[in-house]
Subunit: 317 residues, 2 copies
């Protein structure tokens, strides 16, 4: 088979993988070292953890011009990080706040953003549920007393933190010291809470997803609340806005949002799973991402940044 | 003005900037520290360097369904890195090799790839110019004797190199030691040479552009030859392919390439400029990207990775 660039580096984890039979009539050739996706495909069933439907946010966009449905599935961050904003997001979904709102901003290499397009106009803005909380800046991070221990492999963060690691399937950065701060990081596909200048001004009604290089400078400056686990292409391939910061200039350029619901309110949703970040399979996967030994690579990097070792997600087979 | 998330972080460098008048009737309020884009907007004319048209590759895609022209402008890497492949690319453009080829692959969060869709089929593949060179694996990097000294600020690379820096407007990584290897890095928008398994098998006829998080693990494994400086959105917003690795399943899903020419063969092209990476303005810009002090930010990161300090590019005003 003719292989095109980086053929063995498959973010989509979609390639079939067959382990050689345990016993062969004649000695097998030495197998090539497995690629990260092959390691993931070989992970035992017990290494996969189901994501509860209540941890999902399901956003249905208006269909494409040729009628294709566009569903985006977002996994919400587990406790204890960012739970104030996530509580607000649950209330907003239950109030059907986003139904009939739109994607208002697409800035190339940076973010897609959605919410009430009239939020700036007090006469036209949608009413927010009255029970939303105002979350203080301090909640962007958790200190050791409030945060659980990380699990699985630790990575050099390099620049934006002392080290980085994982917790229940999520990339988490950690500051220096004996009682370090921890915080969720901005990677491709991360979902966060838009805000005004005051750091406590984001409610969760205005959300964005990262569609470019990981904007790690946003860490600890905006609340991370989730990540897109399905339908990312419906956000990342939208036409870019021509206004400042990628806002659309004309209302008709916006993509309408039909509905946003908690996964627990959507019948018939498949079961999503993540590869346990405490599992041996995940440790092997991260090691392989840091040291590519599969045949395409001639110079393994010797390390990997936290955003370049995305936690594998799949629909339960 | 109501500010949406990360309003002060403008990758597009599009916001107007006005310095306060030097002398005011009454003392001015202390100005907020400038954002990176404000520093760039205030850079003196002499800090901008023109990009020669011969260093550009101009790709015209078929218009969109509603008739919009789609032009993508790629800046080729300057000598001495990757010049063997870039010489091939010049020959391919001069031979009009890509006219009538297509964008064949769009893998979300990873790459867009273009070239002859029939390259795998010997009976149908286009003939390559006979003078193309085969470039050895060793050319992915240059050692100190062959590479010029870097200029301007040095950055901690963190993970993928000893340090990173710049040369004539380009991000360059550097290995450890007294006579270190140097190599161009993969960032958002980087253009590289697709290849088969043998590391010398890429000619330059098959090219890709990065549309996701910087795939630094490709550094030193594939040839970097350029970067998209205009029209990136025409690549990044293409529909994702549904086949393995994002290849389109049906020929009609491919986006046709009308022509690819060297900029020196395209009449009426504007003059593109980059901010000199040896300039004081660029050093201030990188410092501000590493330490966001403009009003939106509450916790400056204290560092920046090489791909998150993209070299500013503009059309000569």
């Amino acid at each position: 088979m003719w292989i095109r660039p980086a053929a063995s580096l498959i973010l989509a984890l979609a390639l079939p993988f067959a382990l050689p039979p345990a016993a062969l009539a004649k000695p097998a050739e030495p197998a090539a070292p497995p690629s990260p996706s092959e390691i993931v495909a070989a992970a035992p069933v017990g290494d996969w953890v189901a994501i509860a439907p209540a941890q999902l946010l399901v956003m249905d966009l208006a269909p494409t011009a040729d009628g294709a449905a566009r569903q985006v599935v977002i996994q919400l961050l587990p406790a204890p990080w960012s739970q104030g904003w996530i509580g607000n997001i649950r209330k907003l979904a239950e109030a059907h706040f986003w139904d009939g709102t739109a994607i208002n901003r697409v800035q190339d290499g940076y973010v897609v953003q959605w919410g009430d397009p009239d939020a700036e106009d007090k006469a036209k803005a949608r009413a927010l549920p009255p029970t939303l909380l105002s979350i203080p800046q301090g909640a962007y991070t958790l200190t050791a007393g409030a945060a659980p221990a990380l699990e699985g492999p630790r990575l050099a963060d390099g620049i934006y933190a002392a080290v980085a690691g994982f917790y229940q399937g999520w990339p988490i950065a950690m500051g220096p010291g004996d009682t370090p701060e921890t915080w969720p990081v901005h990677c491709y596909g991360t979902v966060g809470v838009g805000r005004d200048m005051p750091p406590d001004s984001g409610t969760g009604a205005e959300l964005y997803a990262v569609i470019g290089d990981a904007p790690r400078q946003l860490d600890r400056n905006i609340a991370v609340v989730g990540r897109v686990i399905s339908g990312m292409e419906w956000l990342s391939s939208l036409p870019r806005g021509k206004g400042d910061m990628g806002f659309y200039r004309k209302p008709e350029e916006r993509t309408p949002i039909l509905s946003v619901r908690l996964g627990s309110d959507v019948p018939g949703l498949p079961t999503w799973q993540y590869l346990s970040t405490a599992s041996a399979s995940f440790a092997r996967y991260v090691d392989a991402r840091a040291n590519r030994r599969d045949p395409f690579y001639v110079r393994p990097a010797g390390g990997v940044d936290i955003c370049n070792a995305p936690v594998p997600i799949r629909i339960k087979p």
